[in-house]
Amino acid sequence: MSELEDQKNLLEVRDLRMHFTRRSGMFRRHSTTVRAVDGVSFDMSEGETLGLVGESGCGKTSVGRSLIRTYAPTGGQVNYRRSDGDQVDLATLPGKALRPYRRELRMIFQDPFSSLNPRMTVRDIIAEPLRNNRTAHRRKVDEKVVDLLQIVGLRADYLDRYPHAFSGGERQRIVIARALSLDPRLVIADEAVSALDVSVRAQILELLVDLQADHGLTYLFISHDLAVVRYMCDRVAVMYVGKIVEIGQTGTVYSRPRHPYTRALLDSVPEPDPTRRNLLTQEPLRGEVADPSDPPAGCSFNPRCPFAEEICRREEPELRTLDDGTQAACHFAEELNLASPGGRAGAERPMR
């Protein structure tokens, strides 16, 4: 761990848990616990972009919301390094004490249609955080709003328009301007481009990259689009049923995944070149995602895993660091060779 400590990480998430209790039945007697996030740990260094990928329902949003504390995590730590160098655990801070950090950790929502108040003009929407936090003098607010509009590439004469008069891409620019208005350090983008047309996506991604360079931002980039994550992220974390199953440098993970689930995810991305697309080798992900309220014993992925063995049903694999620096949680991470699609070609099975 000494390596991590030297780097002075902006964020160190340790064993984060977000369990939802759902009550059902008459008189709410039955309760089930949904383990949306179940022991997630990762670090983020200043200025990097970490991707968070996984199938729908694996807990990506819950991780993001636990970090910005719209959810109160049920366990673990979110150690955030303030600009003065001290660390605070955001996971347990009470609401009032969170206020200063709400300015430094900002969220870009997925749906640019529902995240802007239809009754407010662009001017008021972007000025709202400035007013609430009294960061700008009253007379300077307008100037600052115009600046922000320009930064995100919108014309200043759009100020008095209402959100309904903008396209999805433009709205997302407004959302980004609002996120930037308080000079954040960490921006959590939850499916920030998923709701947008493909043609607009690239523009917004580019804007995010430019802003990162100009403002020294750190991104947690949540997405289920592996191609977008590859373009955006320095590192990538793969989640499956509330846990991180693999995390490492984007290039390494994409060219040589170490977890069978990562391999399966990569295989499920359609080959962009239709002449090379081969439906026979492109195996879809088999089976159903495990139920986060009742995950299978041992490795959660074992019912769907083509390499599952006896031990997988019995023992839960730990996330451990491999030779190339990637961390993976699979009993056979060292033995399996998953570099090529399907993961079959060089997959050697030491015991069978």
Binding site: T70, M107, D111, L116, R119, E128
Partner: protein, 381 residues
């Protein structure tokens, strides 16, 4: 694509164009108004309502006579029809009505009045009449319409058994009947937004408690409750005090519907991304409610309020009709109807039911406006 289709499409596109500059900076209320206007019946009803409330405000000016003015010798006079020309003696243009004839039954000694087609009485606009204070402030003696010769009165909707002009009394009653709805609804609004807001914003146990309470209130049959409460108003209370007591009694039940509307909206909005982002912007709870949540359904509140007014008006009418509401010196539509409350009067003086027509017109207009409002409340869908 056919060119006609293209044109039609273009029209639609203009309405919804994302970069159409005019509507881009037009606020929500502009869009609501535009949508409301498309609703023909609602628009007409709105105009009627405005007229009714204007009458309520300027009752003394609009009515030819005062509420208590009795006309000796004109008891139970039937309504008269206004004509615009008079041909009895050459040709004249103006406002005219016929005079009255009196027949006396020898045996029963009962006087019956009928319209005398052979005589003509002239009406005028802005005629001098009884003195009054306009809106309770400005002393004046002009009336919108009235007989040119005070000795030759005309009763557009007839008179009652005491010789009082029914039209004037209905006009004066407009003030009490229409305002009781507004005042009652204002009280409901405060209770409804308060309890509905608490219920919807906090949810959980607060919500459950308030909802059970509302269900309890709603399960009480309203008319008997009103009657009990209204009957317990001390008779020593003056007309103004009992008027407010009655409005409060009516709003005891009226607020529950509104509370439900408000609660539902708050519950839905609480989860909206833009409300959450306001929370993340460090906005305080009250600011979130006031600035981010309430404006999103103020039109729904107005619609719900508008739809609650007719209930109040009907309730006042019912209570007064049953004799436990407002009492005689006060003039409201319900009080007037109570005076028409006998079979005999139905047969011999059917025009005494005219206040009922006023109630129906007002209630329908309010309902249509409320419906139009509700439909226009979501202009983005």
């Amino acid at each position: 694509m056919q060119s006609g289709e293209v044109l039609q499409g273009a029209d639609e596109a203009l309405e919804h164009a994302s970069n159409e500059p005019v509507s881009a900076t037009r606020g929500y209320w502009h869009l609501v108004w535009r949508r409301f206007r498309r609703h023909r019946v609602a628009t007409i009803s709105a105009i009627i309502l405005i007229l009714i409330y204007a009458v309520a405000l300027l009752a003394e000016f609009v009515a030819p006579h005062g509420t208590a003015s009795r006309f000796e010798g004109y008891q139970n006079a039937p309504p008269q029809v206004i004509s615009l020309v008079d041909t009895s003696d050459g040709f004249r243009v103006g406002l005219f009505a016929n005079g009255y004839a009196v027949e006396e039954d020898e045996e029963s000694r009962r006087r019956t009045m009928s319209v005398d087609e052979s005589s003509v009485r002239e009406l005028g606009l802005f005629v001098k009449g009884e003195e009054y204070k306009l809106a309770g402030l400005i002393p004046w003696d002009r009336h919108l319409i009235g007989p040119v010769d005070p000795e030759e009165p005309v009763f557009l909707l007839g008179t009652d058994s005491l010789g009082r002009d029914l039209f004037s009394r209905i006009v004066h009653g407009t003030r009490v009947s229409m305002s009781i709805g507004l005042v009652g609804v204002a009280a409901s609004m405060i209770l409804g937004i308060l309890f509905g807001g608490l219920s919807g914003y906090y949810g959980g146990a607060t919500d459950t408690l308030i909802q059970r309470f509302i269900e309890f209130i709603m399960s009480i049959p309203s008319l008997p409750l009103w009657m009990v409460l209204a009957a317990s108003i001390p008779t020593t209370w003056g007309p103004i005090t009992s008027y407010f007591a009655i409005t409060l009694i009516l709003s005891i039940i009226g607020w529950t519907d509104l509370a439900r509307v408000v609660r539902g909206r708050f519950l839905a909005l609480r989860e909206e991304d833009f409300v959450e982002s306001a929370r993340l912007d460090n906005a305080r709870t009250l600011r979130i409610m006031r600035r981010h949540m309430l404006p999103s359904f103020s039109s729904h509140i107005i619609a719900a309020l508008t739809l609650a007014v007719p209930g109040m008006i009907l309730a006042e009418t019912s209570l007064s009709f049953l004799g436990v509401g407002l009492q005689a010196p006060v003039v409201s539509w319900g009080v007037l109807l109570q005076e028409a409350q006998s079979v005999r009067s139905l047969v011999t003086t059917p025009w005494l039911m005219f206040p009922g027509v006023a109630v129906i017109v007002a209630v329908l207009a309010l309902n249509f406006v409320g419906d139009g409002m509700r439909d226009a409340a979501d202009p983005y869908n």
